[in-house]
Amino acid sequence: MTATATTASATRLAIPAKPRRLAVRAAGWAATVVILLAFWDIDLEWDKIAGLPADLAHYGALMFSDPNWSMLGEAALQTWRSVSMAWIGAILGVVLSTLLGIPAAQGVGPAWVRLPLRVIFAVIRAMPEVLIAILILTVTGLTPFTGALALAIGGIGTHAKWTYETIEAVPPGTAEAVRASGGSLVEVIRWGLWPVAAPELMSLALYRFEINVRTSAILGLIGVGGIGAMLTDYTQHREWDTVGVLIIVVIVVTMVIDAISGAIRRRIMEGAKVRGVERQH
């Protein structure tokens, strides 16, 4: 502000008018109105909201003041079941998505293969895993295997999309070189695309496992077993001290798995630290 005063004698520095951006404002107002309408229409139970803090404190105390640690063994077994579901689901899902995702990438498969595959991925992406599990349980029953299959098939939606996006982001040079020296489509994929895309794809596969660990707890709610099923049971019986233990177990296991998997992913993407070697590019 003082700067304008000192230079005022020379040139008048007029601050340009703010852009009006009418469309943005109109959209903002429209969004506000829609949100307010939603608030007004949704029938929030205000008396319940008033009692919410007291409720949360009450149940929080029931759950965490004196957790029933004797359930820890059972909880560990069910956790392993959930993690197993997540792992098997991740392996099956990643294999399927890689097989389906590579031909869906631009420059690999022809358009009549790519487009139908992408539509299938989009449809699966919109289907919640729980619904997929409801379909699969008519085949394999209420077993952890159903959970693993649901995770595998539900994972195709996003994972195959990531796969073809990764393949498309590979610089075309190596693939072109393989093609120029007479490589077939399979050889182009094996030597031109795979070595470049593999670290990213492996990192995504581990990330898929992390997501599955969370989702497998959700699938437990429809009865395929694991920590989610145990949590539903004890919540419905309102044994809050056990519920507290289960929530702590879920949090700790998820965070530990995220940390380990994150460390491995960093190692895959950034490579080992080079020690004592002069390295040129």
């Binding site: 939603a38 229409d41 619904l131 008519t138 394999t140 919540t235 929530i247």
Partner: protein, 275 residues
């Protein structure tokens, strides 16, 4: 190749260096992966029993169900409007409230906007814990606490949204160009002023983009929240599933598909404009 070789005046033998020995490590990593995988398939210790026989036996059941779902019973449609509207409203209300909460929390969780390491780590840790609990687990517990209805559903969505929006936005602030903030500091602003005048305007696109993304996820999640009694169209899914009305289920799934894809397209368009 050959031309270049011939042109080289003095021939020196180019010895190809030996291939690096990577196989011992590959064997160890591979063996570890195989061992872990085998351990996850032992039912005795809680693993998954891979039961291919049941697939061979019952695969026609699955095809029947899919067949029924592919012939949707449209007479159910009038009953779905109200729950579907409720689902969308829950998604919107959840995203709106979490957007309001996420703005200060993101500034709190990012390094340039909160130099105080203690509070920053505290906020990040709490949000990591919040993110570690899956959405339907929140819903199940909250329904048992406050009763069936939209309220537990909305709280679930808020917890879920705040977790991811704050994570993604604070990472965006962390990696953003901090020059404006330096200018603010050089001009003698305190941290609050710097955040308000430089960091916040710079982060609006990131915040808006992530909130839209969370709205997309919310529609997907709130569609199934009803399965545990937390309101929305999931209630109807649970009911139809109980009656084995897979043709009606097909209609509902189709409806969710259309809504989810429509919102995804709209949100993608908006987010492209934001960049």
């Amino acid at each position: 190749m050959t031309a270049a070789d011939a042109a080289a005046p003095a021939r020196t033998d180019l010895a190809i260096p030996p291939r690096p020995r990577t196989w011992p490590k590959a064997v160890v990593v591979g063996a570890a992966l195989v061992a872990f995988t085998v351990a996850t398939t032992i039912p005795a210790i809680g693993g998954v029993e891979i039961d291919l026989a049941s697939i061979a036996r019952n695969w026609t059941n699955g095809l029947d169900r899919i067949g029924q779902m592919l012939t949707p019973d449209l007479s159910i449609l009038p009953r779905t409007w109200q729950p579907l509207l409720e689902t969308l409203e829950m998604a919107l209300v959840g995203a709106a409230i979490s957007a309001v909460l996420a703005v200060p929390l993101s500034l709190w969780a990012a390094r340039p906007t909160n130099p105080n390491g203690v509070t920053r780590r505290a906020v990040r840790f709490v949000l990591n814990v919040v993110r570690a609990v899956p959405d339907l687990v929140y819903a199940t517990v909250l329904v048992a606490m406050v009763g069936v209805g939209t309220l537990p559903g909305i709280i679930t969505l808020i917890l879920f949204d705040v977790g991811i929006v704050v994570k993604l936005v604070s990472e965006a602030i962390d990696s953003a160009d901090a020059q404006y903030m330096e200018a603010g500091r050089a001009a003698g602003g305190n941290q609050t002023q710097i955040n308000r005048v430089t960091a916040l305007p710079q982060s609006w696109p990131a915040i808006a983009s992530q909130v839209l993304y969370s709205l997309e996820l919310n529609v997907r999640i709130s569609a199934i929240l009803g399965l545990v009694g937390a309101g929305g169209i999931g209630r109807l899914i649970d009911e139809m599933r109980g009656f084995y009305r897979y043709d009606a289920l097909g209609t509902i799934v189709l409806e969710i598909l259309i809504v989810v894809i429509a919102i995804e397209i709209a949100s993608n368009l908006l987010r492209k404009r934001l960049r």
